[in-house]
Point group: C2
Chain length 682, copies 2
């Protein structure tokens, strides 16, 4: 293919496609761990929250624990079934945002996007806070420093993601499967010991819980219902992350939707099994668990606990008891739980830019987020996410119990809008569909989504009632702020588009080109710029020199004459060493003298490679270019001259462009290590 | 003057000169306060340091105080006389740096520059720390928080200077004259009361000083000599700032050198009078003054002082006693002293960029510092200065006594090199000068500089011996670091210059121009870029579109055909939404196919005005331009399209360019408020 040949619309796609990024689709066994870490990791804290809420009424209320577990499992089944419909209907990876936008309009879409943005921040805050709790269970020295430890962990995650972590299938597969094996193994072993009548008690079994004043035995039915509602809504934290697969359908192997739906079903079943098992075991093993801020409500033989007593997470307590005489078992469970929580947080770092890029394409986020190459935009997003998470962690002292109050509302807002959207979707399609079997399928799907909506709507109402004052208002406020910012950005882009829309007069050609080449010295870059400018055959061509030192000026003039360049040199005097203004003024003056012409300013630049070299050069050229952009009818041309050291920067840039970006795996844009391996440049 | 007319070398200087900056030269009565604040303000701390050093041997050693004062005065006279020679011989404002560079070579010049850079930092640290001490004298609540107060003051100064403070004659004149009147008035009144036998004692007169172990009555002669040397070298802090006028000769009214020399003489006389008066009065009024870290050496009637006792600065003690029954007098003295100390610190903020600009012109500092318009470079310098000063203040807890140990060595390094340079200067001129009267003048000048060198060399040796371990090593280390950085920058610029030197082959013209116009949409900016590119009549012209979305691509192609632009459109496919790399690769491919041609890339840009709008636009264009600079044989043209809001940015830029920069006054580049007032745009 000749390049000089101006053949129209030649496709260069094929070449790029294979050279830059490997495209590897995920088989189910890899996709499950990639998308499951967020959803499964909530088993590490959701049961704890159920027990904490119930403990307000004393340990006797724990009889409700498995019933609440089943209620949560029911909701989760409904949600999983609903999302199986979504992945079939919207396989493009837009997820809830796309469903809401297409079926309910831009307002609903933006609302979902706001909810998801807030959720990503909370996923990081909650997962890492819970992880810090597990770390403190295993390493006593961390007790009391959870917030600091959690903040540092967030910074570490931020740094790793800024550097560009290579999310790969194996990266997720091992820890996620290890977590499943550990938790299911622990529960299986525990249930076995239960069956043989050999189930030991957990460390907190001997304690007594003082009911919170206002609850306890004399509690009214209404108060009991409210308490159960609170416990239930906290338990619904187990549902967070279930929606992740709906954003990742493009990354699945074909048949994409079917595989995604199967994986989703698998995920739901595993999550429900884990959660119910943990709750049942904990109850059977005599767990006593209260809000860590109300440790004085725990007593031992009527006396308060010693000051140093530390309440360990539910899974940690179960693991310690079940593996009573085998401490590696305990450490293994706690370690994989910690790792899966960190992976869940990392998920947010990967999902955030994916969402950002979709929003950018729709004009709700800065355009730069939409282009994969823009590392700066990505970095800003990652830093923003990390700092928001740290603020929350520090504000709430890394207490999962408090952060949970903020968490669930966002998730359920998007669940609801998404289900509503899906119902509309089916209704719309039913209007045109005539094939009876297809119609039956659609009606069934719509019924599933209706059930889903009913469940999630009930949960959302319960969450809003029970959690609004406890912190959900912060989430809602943050959602409103994100919402307004996104609408504002979109409005701005719309206004700009209107102002830029082409009309007929835009075809008028400028009559003449007046080119000026900026001269600071007579060196290679200047000569090259002069040659390039000459090659464009402008109507007028002159060199322009800003003079502040008479000696240097006369030296330059002599050299200019000697070289016999055939181009006149104009000298602009600037006694106070100003460079920018004289040039801008001169360019504007030329333009004014010839309003239908165009002024072409050629700036010779020499390109260096090391960062400190860049500080030493071209700062003025950069400012001048920025300034000239404001001059109408002036175009600015950089004529670069590459110094030897520029090679360093070129290589750095190339490494940079080839680097993996957070979220690539989720979009099916990165080799998962299975194939195309040779084509990836690290 | 027609602009289209390509008349060679037309001078536009006149117009700029009068439109942009007023040029106002300072009469002596204004120049004195402008350049004196640094030198005079040292009266606020130099006597204190003399008394602190002598106190090591007990109050009996205070008999030496006025003799040390006279020794310092002698050195100061010698230095003043020497600098009077400098301002005559080097009226261009280069000061010590120029003298050393011209006469002793670049190494000496860079050494002086390093010393001056370190000095600017220390001027800020010492002046503000001393000012904080005075503030604590007047406002009891500040006692014990001097370091915090001082750091905040530095930040305030930084902010003011970043904003661009308008240094004007009146800005300095009032406080400086007020300080002179206050101090001289206080001393005069004190001496009057001494003459009438009515001189009261200061607050510390009744105290007793415990000599430091090792000093005291049994001290050896050597120890006494060493003590006196230490006291003397601390007293020499009074000389800092004397050299300022030699950097400011261009700002004086004509005859510049003569006026500068007279002002210098005046300054010396006032400084000496103040210092001697303060020392004599303090001694007569029974001052007892020790290192604030050794307050336990002060006793009252054999008993230690109460814990809350606060030792006030010498001038504060004198003022309180002299104006015994007139507290406004005390407050006036303390207030103007505090103000003059802040002004002295501000002097460093103004001198620093002036030095930076001279160094930049010689290639020892980033070039950008040499251009008045580069606000960023200036800002970096100011922030750097402030942060270094804050580090010192916090490290030494704002204790002037400790900071003084670092201060004087830098000053005297430049004094010495400058005097040595002046001697060489006269010797060199004597070789060619034949006129006897002129020769006599030169011989006399050389003698004065020789005396100056002798004095300053002795002081430098004493300072090095007495202060090296006490902190001067830090200064010397910092000087070495600055020195190495400056040499490194210069070496880099030299290497670049060698690599860029023009040779014959640089006249080769490219044979053809292949122009590509980047297209993202078919809007006004794209149409303008196409029109401009067409106007340059390239050999090949085509639009280039990076396609990642098939729907958008076919929409664009349709529109392109409809518009019938007469330019072919090339589509580069980029399934992963990369923008930069496809374009760069394509440009490089064109270049490779036609090595003697040049590729012109036209980038349509729309220009917005508000900062947040800039975040939303052109980020990709900016990155692409940066990336294309590394592609040899490719020139990059920005074709701006100004949106309505760009007006905001243009106006902001214009305000910015018209703004006063720190140091302008010292270079005679700003209206001092006396004339041209109407021409300055604030």
């Amino acid at each position: 293919m000749g390049v000089g040949d101006v053949s129209k619309r030649i496709l260069l796609g094929r070449k790029l496609r294979s050279s830059q990024l490997g495209e590897t689709l995920l088989p189910k066994r890899i996709a499950l761990p990639v998308f499951a870490s967020d959803a499964l990791s909530s088993v590490a804290y959701a049961p704890d929250e159920v027990f904490i809420m119930l403990s307000l009424a004393g340990a006797s209320a724990y009889v409700w624990s498995w019933k609440i577990g089943i209620a949560v499992a029911l909701v989760m089944s409904a949600v999983v079934m609903s999302y199986r419909q979504t992945v079939h209907a919207y396989p493009s990876g837009g997820g809830d945002y796309e469903v809401a936008t297409v079926n309910l309009g831009a307002m609903a879409g933006t609302t979902v996007a706001s909810a998801l943005l807030v959720d990503y921040v909370l996923t990081v805050a909650v997962s890492i806070s819970s992880g810090a709790q597990y770390a403190a269970s295993a390493i006593g020295a961390l007790s009391g420093h959870e917030a600091t430890f959690a903040s540092i962990m967030v910074l570490v995650l931020m740094a790793i993601n800024l550097r560009g972590i290579r999310e790969s299938g194996t990266f997720f597969a091992f820890p996620t499967y290890a977590f499943m094996v550990a938790i299911l193994g622990m529960c299986g072993f525990g249930l076995l010991r239960l069956a043989t009548g050999d189930l030991p008690h957990v460390e907190s079994a001997g304690l007594h819980i003082q009911p919170d004043p206002g609850y306890g035995s004399s509690m009214s039915t209404f108060a009991l219902l409210f308490l159960l509602a609170r416990a239930f809504s906290s338990g619904c934290a187990a549902l967070t992350g279930v929606e992740a697969i709906s954003n990742g359908v493009p990354a699945f192997k074909k048949p994409k939707s079917k595989n995604a739906a199967t994986t989703l079903l698998l995920l739901g079943m595993i999550a429900i099994t884990m959660m119910i098992s943990v709750i049942v075991l904990a109850k059977k093993m005599g767990l006593k668990y209260v809000d860590p801020n109300q440790m004085d409500r725990l007593t031992l033989d009527g006396k308060p606990l010693p000051a140093g007593y530390d309440q360990h997470a539910v899974i940690a307590q179960i693991a310690r008891a079940v593996f009573s005489d085998f401490s590696p078992g305990f450490y293994a469970v706690v370690t994989v739980t910690g790792i899966i929580l960190v992976l869940a947080a990392n998920t947010a770092f990967n999902g955030f830019p994916v969402l950002g890029s979709i929003l950018a394409q729709d004009g709700y986020a800065p355009r730069a987020l939409g282009s994969r190459g823009d590392r700066l935009a990505y970095s800003n997003g990652i830093v923003f996410l990390a700092f928001m998470a740290i603020i929350l962690i520090e504000m709430f002292n890394a207490e999962t119990t408090k952060l949970i109050q903020l968490y669930i509302v966002g998730v359920f807002v998007s669940f609801n809008l998404s289900q509503l959207g899906m119902i509309r979707h089916w209704t719309r399609h039913l209007k045109t569909e005539t094939e009876p079997s297809e119609r039956r399928r659609m009606v069934r799907s719509r019924a599933i989504n209706t059930v889903g909506l009913t469940f999630t709507a009930v949960v959302l109402v319960i969450v809003l009632i029970t959690k609004f004052l406890a912190g959900a208002w912060i989430t809602i406020l943050a959602m409103i702020i994100f919402f307004l910012i996104m609408r504002g950005i979109r409005r701005h882009y719309d206004n700009v588009q209107a102002e830029l829309a082409a009309d007929e007069e835009d075809k008028i050609m400028p009559t003449r080109v007046h080119a000026i080449v900026l001269v600071s010295k007579l060196h290679k870059p200047t000569l090259r710029a002069l040659a390039f400018a000459k090659a464009t055959r402008p109507n007028v061509l002159e060199g322009v020199y800003v003079a502040s030192d008479p000696a240097a000026t006369s030296r330059l003039l002599e050299e200019w004459d000697e070289r016999n360049l055939g181009v006149p040199l104009k000298v602009l005097h600037s006694p106070y060493r100003e460079l920018i203004k004289p040039i801008v003024d001169y360019a504007m003056e030329i333009k004014k003298a010839n309003p239908r012409g165009v002024v072409a300013v050629y700036i010779p630049e020499y390109v260096v490679g090391r960062w400190w070299e860049q500080l030493l050069h071209n700062q003025t050229a950069l400012r001048l270019k920025g300034r000239l952009l404001f001059a109408p009818g002036v175009m600015v041309t950089s004529v670069p001259y590459q110094l030897r050291s520029s090679q360093i920067a070129r290589e750095r840039e190339e490494r940079e462009l080839a680097r993996v970006r957070p979220g690539d795996l989720r979009r099916g844009q990165v080799s998962g290590g299975e194939s195309h391996k040779g084509q990836i440049q690290r």
